[in-house]
């Protein structure tokens, strides 16, 4: 249904019911907004289960790497063998399944960050995800997630904050910990599902129930919701065609990123988007250039590459940041897999990112260089990356409120922007 038709018929229904159509002025708001939102967007992608950083961004210049991982190491690029690492800078290389990301590195859009993670020593998935999503390591009682605090304490522009129901969107059935908190955010499995599922005028009548009566919390949220549903309908999700020849994998993750691209392009005022991808807990038969981890990376890399391609020039206003709760042990275990470790790796992607360079100080993999003599040591606190991007990309100024107990520590920033 075209928006104008909806407004007209909705109004007719209400007028005939003897109700005031005063809400019409408000419903037009969504359309005006559509052209007005010019904010920046941060897209956070969480690899749940602890991705093996040493096989994502491979330190092929490090002898110890090959000694520690006799059966799962990614071969040196110099070997030019099938399945060798894709060289980045003569020392680091990408896992071959991350090949779709290499052109982004070459175009200086993509920055891998190594030896980054949480200062907490926990090796529990649950605790570590909690700490990363709240951005308060070793502090369990933090009630809200860092992305929600970011939205709650500030935004990129007043107009989009005030008006959009979509300033924070998680493409998931439930609100992830990062997005929980006092600021309104939306969690949805798909854009199509963000609608009233009823026929025969039921939706219009329910809308009328929320349009009448007092303007309290429940009514107010209902009215905003109906505007938000209309706004998405106007974006016409069924007809969406990715641009620039982008091809998303037909996977859950691919579909979620496609929908994030839709929302970015629909200018619905989205400042934060969130999606996650599981399957990284590779204790057994992790594989090397092919196998279990390679299959996850294939989905991961092709989806992200499609998103960047699809967004095209919009990448000027978008930063994509990937994260995982911790890395995995430097040494492979007895099952050709890896156990829980410490520091990990992230990817930052966007026109604003200082790409084409591997960021973060490399601590080395010799025994005495490892954390607790077993894991990649931490040289960058993940909050240094979060806060640099919150400040530099989204214009956040109240870092003390967003990162309690950490705050504004510019000296720790690594210059990823």
């Amino acid at each position: 249904m075209q928006r104008r038709v909806f407004v007209k018929s909705g109004a007719l229904a209400l007028v005939t019911l003897g109700l005031s159509p005063s809400f019409l002025r408000r419903t037009a708001f969504g359309m005006e907004l559509a052209g007005a939102a010019k904010g920046k967007t941060l897209i956070c992608l969480f690899q749940r289960g602890a991705a093996d950083a040493l096989n994502l961004v491979v330190p092929h210049g490090e002898r110890a790497y090959y000694a520690l991982r006799p059966s799962i190491a990614i071969p040196r690029p110099s070997l030019r063998a099938e399945g060798a690492a894709i060289d980045l800078d003569g020392f680091f290389g990408l896992h071959p399944a991350l090949a779709p990301l290499k052109p982004l590195y070459d175009r200086k859009l993509l920055a891998p960050i190594h030896a980054v993670g949480s200062p907490s020593a926990t090796r529990s998935h649950f605790d570590a995800q909690d700490y990363m999503e709240t951005a308060t390591p070793d502090r369990k009682a933090t009630p809200d997630g860092w992305l929600n605090r970011l939205l709650a304490v500030e935004g990129t522009c007043d107009e989009c904050r005030a008006a959009s129901a979509f300033h924070g969107v998680a493409m998931s059935s439930q609100t992830p910990r990062s997005m929980q908190g006092s600021a309104d955010t939306v969690a949805m499995n798909s854009i199509e599902q963000f609608t009233i599922r009823a026929a025969g005028g039921q939706a219009e009548r329910i809308e009328a129930l929320y349009r009448t009566g007092s303007a309290d919390l429940v009514h107010g949220a209902g009215r905003e919701m109906f505007e938000a549903v209309e706004m998405l309908r106007a974006a016409n999700p069924q007809r969406y065609q990715p641009r620039n020849g982008a091809e998303y994998p037909r996977t859950d993750f691919g579909r979620r990123l496609l929908q994030i691209a839709q929302l970015v392009k629909a200018d619905v005022g989205m400042e934060i988007a969130f999606a996650d991808i599981g399957g990284w807990d590779t204790h057994v038969n992790q594989g090397g250039a092919t196998g279990q981890l390679a299959n996850r990376l294939d989905d991961f890399a092709r989806s992200i590459a499609a998103l960047v391609t699809d967004l095209g020039d919009k990448m000027d206003d978008v930063v994509i940041l990937t994260m995982s709760e911790f890395g995995r042990m430097a040494r492979e275990n007895g099952n050709r897999g890896t156990d829980h470790g410490h520091a990990g790796a992230m990817f930052a992607i966007g026109s604003a990112v200082r790409g084409g360079k591997v960021h973060g100080r490399w601590p080395g993999l010799e025994r005495e260089q490892l954390f607790e003599q077993r894991d990649l040591a931490l040289t960058t606190d993940f909050r240094a990356v979060f806060s640099e991007i919150a400040s530099g990309h989204l214009g956040a100024s109240r870092l003390d409120a967003i990162f309690p107990g950490y705050g504004d520590r510019r000296s720790e920033w690594i210059g990823v922007l």
């Binding site: 018929s9 007719l12 229904a13 005939t16 019911l17 003897g18 109700l19 529990s124 998935h125 649950f126 909690d130 369990k140 009682a141 933090t142 009630p143 129901a165 059935s173 439930q174 609100t175 910990r177 006092s182 309104d184 955010t185 939306v186 969690a187 949805m188 963000f194 609608t195 009233i196 599922r197 009823a198 026929a199 025969g200 005028g201 039921q202 219009e204 009548r205 329910i206 009328a208 129930l209 929320y210 009448t212 009566g213 309290d216 919390l217 429940v218 009514h219 949220a221 209902g222 905003e224 919701m225 938000a228 549903v229 057994v284 038969n285 007895g334 099952n335 050709r336």
Partner: protein, 530 residues
């Protein structure tokens, strides 16, 4: 002192509720509905009449003493869950055996699992899932069916107050049922008793890591540490100590310091769990206990003692004035208002202190207060997703759903049961539950339930539809308003509910029309409140 307070409790309990009516602003019928919405999970079709016949005050008294209420309906509903028939220590041992087996298989074969092994793994996985889904389904079924409604409301309240997370990993799912059952048994009892139960429960010990907290190296312990144990030493873990003060007793501004957190954690070292292969369960391990002297909130605990340290800490925090205030505030927020008056909190806190933390008496103070039945209190609380789903099932007269589907609906509305990750529990105020996305989900839930798309909640088979399928729209609207919306709605709302014959709106005849009205009512702003 103890005897004296027991006498006071007895005297106060003996005072009947009669004579309170004068203080109540709400009209009599509204009081009944209000009580059913606050002290129960909403009315079932005949509940209003039953309470009226019994007398509201009599009904409240009975709800405050659940042991007097027979509850075959709940027993029948629970008998359907297979894992409820298996004792916790059996399930925990099974879990330990499965873990051992898994390690063994990995060590043996390294690479590929045999067909038999992978089938066995799958079956274990299914059993674990059954433990979780049985718990979740049973919580909904019990809230729908139980006659001991206030006991279920209070169990929900205390579980949330002492929240644990079912997906913490390890044996956590197996510790949940006895945890909730222990809370239910103590829901109206002494706060100190409840606190002690929680402190010794494997569910909490595992969730907040006290099970692995031990004296820091260099501290004296009660037993000599074997070399083996020395290697595994990890030191003090403050998690539980902190939440005990911040969330369970004094509250975040309750007047304690970081040093108090450390001292409390030290006092509780050695409070741990038996290994899963021994079936779990609480144990005090002297070898882990920090035996040096401590000072907790100004109280000195001498050195060289064992489990008494922790017991003393629980005594100290349970009797702290901040705890009385904190618990009184939370109860008043749950039962009366998101922003309870200082006067009400003061009175409830005074009862807490006077009765040495008698929960039933604190509750009585709150229910008997003028604030509870104030006109402004009516429908002033926003329902949590759990309350939305359970109250819908009750209003529709639905049978308790033996499948996990209805619990799944609660999760989709944003409150996966036993699965709030952080120790603060689900929010108790409306602003946390209501936003653009949640309103949409609530409306869609109501529409799905009304259209019969949620088999556990089918409205078309429910008493509400009986005899009304070919009744005039007006009569159908009256029946739905009576069952779902407390009997009265604004003229605007009524006009919209009646508007089925409007040309803009496909006219619904018969049952389909009735389902339409039910869908509108469940999705309405009024139904989101209690």
């Amino acid at each position: 002192m103890r005897i004296l307070s027991a006498v006071v409790v007895a005297l106060v309990s003996a005072v009947p509720l009669h004579g309170q009516e004068a203080l109540r602003e709400q009209p009599a019928d509204q009081q009944i509905l209000h009580a059913l919405n606050r002290l129960a999970f909403g009315p079932r079709p005949s509940d209003g009449q039953k309470v009226r016949a019994m007398g509201l005050d009599q009904w409240i008294e009975r709800q405050l003493d659940p042991s007097r209420i027979p509850d075959e309906a709940a027993d029948r509903a629970l008998a359907r869950y297979a894992t409820f028939g298996q004792p916790e220590n059996y399930l925990v041992r099974q879990y330990a055996a499965a873990q051992r087996e898994r390690r063994q298989i990995r060590a043996d074969s390294g690479a590929a699992l045999s067909r038999e092994d992978s089938i066995a793994f799958r079956q274990r996985g299914e059993q674990l899932r059954a433990v979780v889904t049985d718990l979740q389904s049973a919580k909904v079924a019990r809230a729908v069916a139980s006659e001991r409604q206030l006991q279920e409301v209070m169990t929900d309240f205390w579980f949330n107050h002492f929240n644990v997370f079912i997906r913490k990993g390890g044996p956590q799912p197996f510790y949940m049922r006895s945890y909730e059952e222990g809370i239910r048994e103590r829901a109206f009892g002494s706060f100190r008793d409840l606190l002690g139960f929680v402190a010794k429960s494997p569910a909490m010990l595992f969730y907040l890591d006290n099970a692995r907290s031990m004296a820091d190296s260099g501290r004296p312990t009660l037993a000599r540490i074997r070399p083996m144990a020395r290697r595994m030493r990890q030191g003090l873990n403050e998690n539980y100590g902190r939440e005990l003060l911040e969330l369970h007793t004094l509250g975040v501004d309750g007047g304690y310091t970081q040093q108090d957190v450390i001292e409390v954690a030290r006092a509780l070292t050695g409070w741990t769990i038996r290994p899963p292969q021994e079936g779990g369960g609480f144990i005090f391990r002297p070898i882990m206990h920090d035996a040096a002297p401590k000072t907790v909130l100004g109280h000195s605990l001498p050195g060289g003692r064992g489990i008494e340290d922790g017991e003393d800490v629980l005594d100290i925090v349970a009797r702290h004035p901040s705890t009385a205030r904190y618990i009184a505030t939370k109860l008043a927020r749950r039962f009366v208002s998101d922003t309870p008056s200082t006067a009400l909190v003061d009175r409830a806190a005074a009862t807490f202190t006077r009765t040495d933390g008698d929960i039933r008496e604190v509750l009585r103070t709150i229910i008997q207060s003028p604030e509870f039945f104030a006109a402004s209190a009516y429908r002033s609380k926003v329902k949590s997703p759990f309350e939305v789903v359970v109250s819908a099932a009750r209003a529709l007269g639905a049978e308790p759903d033996p499948t996990p589907r209805t619990a799944g609906a609660v999760a989709l509305l944003g409150q996966p049961l036993y699965a709030h990750q952080a120790p603060n529990g689900y929010p108790e105020t409306g602003d946390a539950w209501i936003n653009t996305g949640s309103i949409l989900n609530r409306i869609n839930f109501g529409l799905a339930a009304a259209a019969g798309r949620l088999p556990g909640l089918s409205a078309t088979n429910a008493p509400i539809g009986a005899g009304l399928s070919s009744a005039p729209r007006e009569q159908q609207v009256d029946a739905v308003v009576s069952a779902l919306l407390g009997g009265s709605v604004s003229p605007d709302t009524r006009a919209i509910l009646l508007s089925g014959d409007h040309p803009m709106i496909a006219s619904g005849a018969g049952l389909q029309g009735l389902a339409q009205i039910v869908g509108l009512a469940l999705g309405s702003p009024e139904f989101q409140r209690r």
